[in-house]
């Protein structure tokens, strides 16, 4: 009996539609998150993550509707993050059928939010999403870096906001540790350096967070091919997450699981 490594596709959802292009045949509506969620479930996804990037708060109702419709049809765990600012937001998402809620920026300005949410709803459903970047690291996607003062954090990784464009000066490893202390049940660790490069996960970042916390860690950012996933797990990730490589059909969930199994890692096989 060994716990299986979780393979998790992430869907970016804007006003109820999947934003990043999705390239699947046999889909009636490739922009419908509910249809995609169903398909990923059938393909062997172990969990699903919806990242709500809806800018206008007026469109938040659409998100709840999408979550409801997904939870009605897909019987695997669903995490929803993006724009979660209050305990009421968490409550609404859980009531709509989310199993876990990801909290990111709102906790940076008010860490107690994590504790309040974990106390009220249970640690198991609160995920701290950390967008980490190397301080003075390589600049990715031509984003202009706006570090606070350019000084290095103790670990060399800092927490960012605004999709990696803005530094906070907070040490990423310390922040993950703090989140665990405040009661979150899991860390969703996104490398903003690796994100979009398709060069593989940031193994150093994963291994530093793994050593610092004893809650599960989901590694995200950098997956480009099926063989990228096993090293992330060997570096200490309990779960691996990717978006575009799955959506574009570059690699399938089954291929990722085959690679993980070939590396002597345990996966859940779906017929």
């Amino acid at each position: 009996m060994t716990l299986a490594v979780r393979v998790i596709p992430c869907l970016d959802v804007d006003a109820g539609r999947v934003v990043k292009g999705v390239n699947f045949e046999n889909l009636r509506d490739a922009g419908d998150p509910v249809e995609l969620a169903k398909l990923y479930g059938e393909m062997g996804a172990d969990e699903l993550v919806f990242l709500d990037i809806t800018a206008s708060s007026g469109n938040r109702e659409t998100t709840y509707d999408i979550v409801r419709r997904t939870a009605d049809q897909v019987f695997i765990p669903l995490t929803v993050g993006g724009g979660v600012r209050t305990v009421e937001d968490v409550d609404k998402l859980l009531r709509s059928g989310a199993d876990k809620v990801g909290i990111n920026t709102a906790a940076i300005s008010r860490p107690d939010f994590l504790q309040e949410a974990a106390k009220r709803f249970g640690s198991q459903c609160i995920v701290l999403s950390v967008d980490a970047r190397r301080v003075n690291g390589k600049v990715n996607n031509q984003l202009s870096l706006q570090t606070n003062d350019g000084t290095a954090t103790p670990s060399g990784f800092e927490v960012t906001t605004h999709g990696g464009r803005q530094g906070t000066g907070i040490d990423a490893i310390e922040w993950a540790t703090r989140g665990a202390e405040l009661g979150v049940g899991e860390i969703l660790l996104n490398s903003m350096d690796a994100d979009g490069t398709k060069d593989g996960f940031d193994l150093e970042l994963i291994s530093l967070v793994r050593k610092a916390v004893s809650i599960p860690v989901i590694a995200s950012g950098g997956a480009g091919k099926a063989s990228d996933f096993a090293p992330a797990v060997q570096a200490g990730a309990d779960a691996v997450l990717a978006a575009s490589v799955f959506h574009f059909g570059t690699v399938s969930i089954a291929e990722v699981k085959r690679e993980l199994a070939a590396a002597q890692l345990t996966v859940r096989q779906v017929n």
């Binding site: 019987f75 709803f121 198991q124 309990d238």
Partner: protein
């Protein structure tokens, strides 16, 4: 005449009740989401969810007379299915953060923090299914979705009773062995979430529904 079994998902303020409701509907149950005592008493099956802290769940259970509800159903031989903390509260006692909370005492035993490097135990694990299990029929070697930090590591009842059938215990291992499921006549429970365990979980729910009248 309605041939679908009626199931009440006990809505006492804990858990993702919507998922449980939809999963049970998916496998053919007529589901009502309620905390109403009479409705819950008279349904063919009672499904007791539960997430979060043991003491918080017990507060909710006590508020809606859940203990009496379970007792009266079992006295009449009517099915009850506890899931996750909904299973844990069926034991004598829970200990979380040093707080000891009395459970419903259907089985002896204490719910304690598991010993493992990474907690919660979160994800898909296999189980060692009790011989002749009806609940796991057809999905004995499948994986099920767990998310918990606490569990029952010591099952205190004998494996065989002289005159009645002993409860059937299914085990899982994560850091240490713990109880993954119990089948005890009309009372069954799983530590994992069948409503979140894909097709394998739906099969468990369907197996349970088959036994309801």
């Amino acid at each position: 005449m309605n041939s679908r079994p009626s199931v009440v998902v006990f809505d006492y303020g804990s858990g993702n009740v919507r998922s449980a409701q939809r999963a049970l509907e998916h496998v053919g149950a007529e589901v009502t989401l309620t905390s109403d005592f009479e409705t819950a008493l008279n349904a063919d099956g009672l499904f007791v969810p539960g997430v979060g802290a043991f003491d918080a769940c017990m507060q909710g259970i006590n508020k809606y007379k859940g203990g009496e509800l379970v007792d009266r159903r079992l006295a009449g031989g009517r099915a009850v299915f506890g899931v996750c903390v909904g299973m844990q509260i069926l034991f004598d006692q829970g200990v979380e953060h040093g707080i000891e909370t009395r459970g419903l005492g259907q089985w002896p035993g204490v719910v304690e923090k598991l010993t493992a490097d990474v907690l919660p135990h979160m994800g898909w694990n296999t189980v060692s299914v009790a011989p002749n299990s009806k609940l796991f029929a057809g999905v004995e070697s499948e994986r099920f979705y767990f998310v918990h930090s606490y569990g029952v590591t010591k099952w205190l009842l004998p494996d065989e009773f002289e005159k009645t059938k002993a409860p059937q215990v299914t085990w899982c291992e994560y850091g240490e062995k713990f109880v993954a499921a119990v089948e005890n006549g009309p009372l069954v429970a799983t530590q994992f979430h069948p409503e979140k365990s894909g097709d394998a979980g739906l099969q468990v729910l369907q197996n349970w529904l088959k036994g309801l009248k």
